[in-house]
């Protein structure tokens, strides 16, 4: 069974440029999460989807971040414009139910110069 797939694995951009991350969750998982992880810290939730509905986006900086999950499967996370402080690893995870076991992708390491 394929795990959670994320792309790209690495991205280097200049500040003020846009960037997008893609996630394909495990088949059948209704819940999808986007996390931000800074070096030496735990994952911090950005947004949680139940099917195609964003049920928790309270930590998403909506002035520059946006996300979508069309058809309740794949998801994209976008930053526009990127700032230096956005440099981090962006993790996608999926699960059958909220608060259940989560399966994580390898993450996208973003560097903003």
């Amino acid at each position: 069974e394929a795990g959670v797939v994320q792309s790209p694995r690495y991205k280097i951009i200049e500040k003020k440029q846009p960037v997008a991350f893609w996630c394909n969750p495990i088949s059948g998982h209704n819940t999808l999460y986007w996390y931000l992880q800074n070096l030496g810290q735990g994952p911090e939730l950005l947004i949680r989807y139940e099917n195609e509905e964003a049920v928790d986006d309270s930590q998403l900086p909506k002035d520059r971040f946006s996300a979508e999950r069309l058809k309740g499967v794949d998801s994209t996370l976008k930053i526009q414009p990127a700032e230096l402080g956005d440099s981090a690893v962006y993790l996608c995870a999926s699960s059958f139910i909220s608060t259940g076991e989560q399966f994580f992708g390898p993450g996208t390491r973003l560097t903003v110069l």
């Binding site: 810290q41 735990g42 928790d56 930590q59 995870a93 909220s98 608060t99 259940g100 399966f103 993450g107």
Partner: protein, 110 residues
């Protein structure tokens, strides 16, 4: 924001020794989970303990939960060099919210 705290932040032991990591949380939970993360990789689920459970085992892992103290501990027995990783607890709240702690970085020296 992260709503759990873990200690120690870093732990270094010799192979064969036991490693104990602790996690505290702030409000009532539905369950608590432990994850491992190897450097540069995604997190891997280790074990889930429900709020009505006090102890759970999985191989060399033992997790305890004390809801009166709002704390949990993860014990790794007979550690191996391959156990070197960061370990995170995640608190599952009744509103379906789940929050991760800052993690414990474990180093097992051969």
């Amino acid at each position: 924001s992260q709503q759990g705290e873990e200690d120690p932040q870093a732990l270094s032991i010799q192979e064969g020794e036991n490693a104990t990591m602790n996690c505290s949380y702030k409000t009532s939970i539905n369950n608590l989970q432990w994850y491992r993360q190897n450097s540069g990789r995604g997190l891997v689920h280790l074990i889930l303990i429900r709020s009505n459970e006090r102890e759970k085992h999985s191989g060399r892992l033992r997790v305890t939960l004390d809801t009166s103290k709002k704390s949990s501990s993860l014990l790794i027995t007979a550690s191996r060099a391959a156990d070197t990783a960061s370990y995170f607890c995640a608190s599952g709240y009744n509103n379906n919210d789940m929050r991760f702690g800052a993690g414990t970085r474990l180093t097992v020296k051969p």
